[in-house]
């Protein structure tokens, strides 16, 4: 019997749980989870970039924010010169392609001559997120500080004239489906030649280059893929939340997503996704009780996790279960 990887097992268990969740809970819980799934897609994009390709980003929300704004601008009919364009589908395409291109251009500057690595990459991305937030606040045509309000929900028609996807339960299942496809698809990419080469670059850049891999091109590719995926998650977020503001593009959300991925586990995409969902759930339940202490608590927890369990909670779980299964298997044999 072929052995199913532990991460896949965990993903399937989580999928079953999420499939029955709306049946047993109130509808506002499902509405919350629809948004958490969009955040989970975002976490998967960072998990891929950081955990798989080894590129740490302190400004990942930039792509999320660009995606959210792109979707909003298109569905609100604000594209310059095309006032009749309101298609959700074109918005979706824009929300994927624009952040992907931005990431690719940035990657070309950063990786084409000096392979900017580790901490330095982190610094540039940090600067980028601070800058992007300032630019969004000062961009009057994007609503400035107030952002863009009443962004329409997903519209099934070709140009915004069809039925709205607005009810909680259908939106919940659409988001869950997208998340499942994204996790499965990105895991598939991890095992394609492109993904394997990226893993090689992560482990030893010099060796990968010596074996003939074009390291710069691989890194630019990984950044573009992660940026496009983050843009998609931003679009999925904004069609549910109905509001795009400068806080989506900036420093604070970049910090949040890094914490989700670190606490969940950066070595497995499922762990990153679950990290986002669990931290957001805890936050909505506890932040009323803890108030301003919540960010302090989550920051402290993050620090402890960096020092004591760098694999993250779900990453650690997967690794331990894996070892356990392996031991039982060898004992039986």
């Amino acid at each position: 019997m072929a052995r199913i990887p532990t991460a896949t097992l965990l993903a399937l268990v989580a999928l079953v749980l999420f499939l029955v969740l709306p049946v047993v809970t109130a509808s506002w819980v499902a509405a919350d989870f629809g948004i958490y799934f969009a955040y989970a897609v975002f976490a998967v994009s960072l998990g891929f970039l950081w955990g798989h390709a080894g590129m740490l980003s302190f400004g990942h929300a930039v792509y999320f924010g660009i995606g959210a704004y792109a979707m909003s601008v298109v569905t609100l009919g604000m594209v310059p010169g095309l006032p009749d364009l309101k298609s959700t589908w074109i918005g979706l395409v824009a929300a994927v392609i624009i952040p992907g291109l931005v990431a690719a251009v940035l990657g070309w500057f950063l990786f084409a001559s000096r392979a900017l690595r580790g901490a330095f990459l982190g610094i540039v991305t940090l600067a980028l997120s601070v800058l992007a937030e300032r630019l969004a606040i000062n961009a009057d045509w994007l609503g400035g500080m107030n952002g863009l309000m009443s962004v329409p929900p997903i519209n099934l028609g070709l140009n915004g004239e069809g039925a709205d996807l607005y009810d909680t339960i259908p939106v919940y299942y659409v988001m869950l489906a997208v998340l499942a496809v994204v996790v499965a698809g990105m895991t598939w990419i991890q095992h394609r030649p492109f993904g394997l080469a990226l893993a090689a670059v992560r482990e030893n850049e010099l060796r990968a280059a010596t074996l003939g891999h074009n390291v710069a091109r691989l890194k630019i590719g990984a950044l573009a893929v992660a940026g496009a995926l983050a843009g998609l998650s931003g679009a999925l977020f904004v069609v549910q939340f109905g509001f795009a503001s400068p806080s989506l593009i900036g420093f604070a959300l970049s910090a949040d997503v890094l914490i989700w991925v670190a606490l969940g586990g950066r070595d497995f995409l499922v762990a990153a996704a679950l990290g986002a969902i669990v931290v957001r759930t805890l936050e909505s339940r506890l932040s009323n009780a803890l108030g301003a202490t919540w960010p302090l608590a989550i920051g402290a927890l993050f620090m402890v996790s960096v020092v004591l369990f760098p694999r993250g909670v779900f990453g650690e779980l997967i690794t331990r279960l894996d070892r356990l299964r392996h031991r039982r298997r060898t004992r039986r044999a």
Partner: protein, 287 residues
């Protein structure tokens, strides 16, 4: 003409303080290989510290002198509790210091609230430079920065402890073999770097609004400075800070602060593309 003089003076002020901040970052990185993401928060702590001490009745300049010590102590505690546990994992030190930054920022929100405070500047009057009045306190800030930078260089290049520190930068293992206590050097370096940031924050406190995010506006240009200037030397960050601070304040004066940030970031990215090792690079022999 008068406006130009003011712009140039304000620009030099920004450059000198930025040099102080970048120097602290560069020393910590050079000696310990730690990218200190909490550096801006040390600066922010310096602001709050001078505010707190001043409001308790201490004269401003005494508060200004004590604040770096307060921040150095906090840095020492942080190093002992968290940062030394991640030395073996370079990337994790960034995460640990970055987590520390979040915690420090939120702690200030809890203690002093999320709003901004102002620290009254000491009454030093104004002086007429090139026909326009200029606050003396800003000149004092420049003098403090300049003296501290010179003193730091004097320490590194003219004292025995500085020689030991440079030995650790050049080759940590060899320095340890020669009997230099590298653990002690790490601890002192981190405290010293934190103190430089604290001093910068304390000196700038009356000129900026003191809020929990005060550090962010300084640490990003400081990071870009060391990135542009190159990390192999102690003077590289100063060159970087001059470039970044100069471009930032000149663009801000003639257009707007947002465009200034945009210009600095774009210029920094282009420099990284054209000069992969920074503007001031030293051939470093790989161990």
């Amino acid at each position: 003409m008068e406006r130009l003089a003011i712009i140039l003076l304000d620009g030099s002020n920004a450059i000198l303080v930025l040099m102080l901040v970048s120097l602290g970052l560069a020393i910590i990185f050079g000696l310990m290989n730690v990218i200190n993401m909490a550096h801006g928060e040390f600066l922010m702590l310096g602001c709050y510290s001078v505010m707190e001490l001043n409001s308790r009745g201490l004269p401003f300049f005494l508060a200004l002198a004590l604040s770096p010590l307060v921040v150095a102590f906090i840095g020492l505690v942080a190093e002992e509790l968290i940062i030394r546990r991640t030395y073996a994992r370079l990337l994790d030190t960034i995460l640990a210091t970055w987590g520390l930054a979040l915690v420090l920022r939120q702690a200030m929100v809890l203690i002093y609230g999320p709003g901004s405070w102002s620290v009254p500047a000491p009454e030093l009057g104004e002086i007429t430079i090139a026909g326009s009045p200029y606050p003396v306190y800003r000149l004092v800030v420049m003098a403090i920065s300049l003296v501290t930078i010179v003193a730091t260089f004097w320490f590194f290049f003219r004292t025995r402890s500085g020689l030991a520190a440079r030995a650790v930068i050049a080759n940590r293992d060899m320095a340890a073999c020669l009997g230099i206590n590298t653990r002690r050097a790490d601890r002192l370096t981190f405290a010293f770097g934190a103190a430089l940031a604290g001093l910068a924050g304390a000196a700038m406190a009356p000129l900026i609004s003191v809020d929990p995010n005060a550090g962010l506006g300084w640490v990003v240009p400081a990071f870009l400075s060391i990135l542009v200037g190159g990390l192999g030397t102690i003077s590289g960050p100063l060159v970087g800070a001059a470039g970044v601070g100069g471009l930032d304040s000149l663009t801000a004066a003639f257009t707007s602060p947002v465009w200034a940030q945009f210009a600095v970031f774009t210029a920094a990215i282009i420099v990284i593309r054209l000069f992969p090792n920074g503007l001031v690079s030293r051939r470093k022999r790989e161990a």
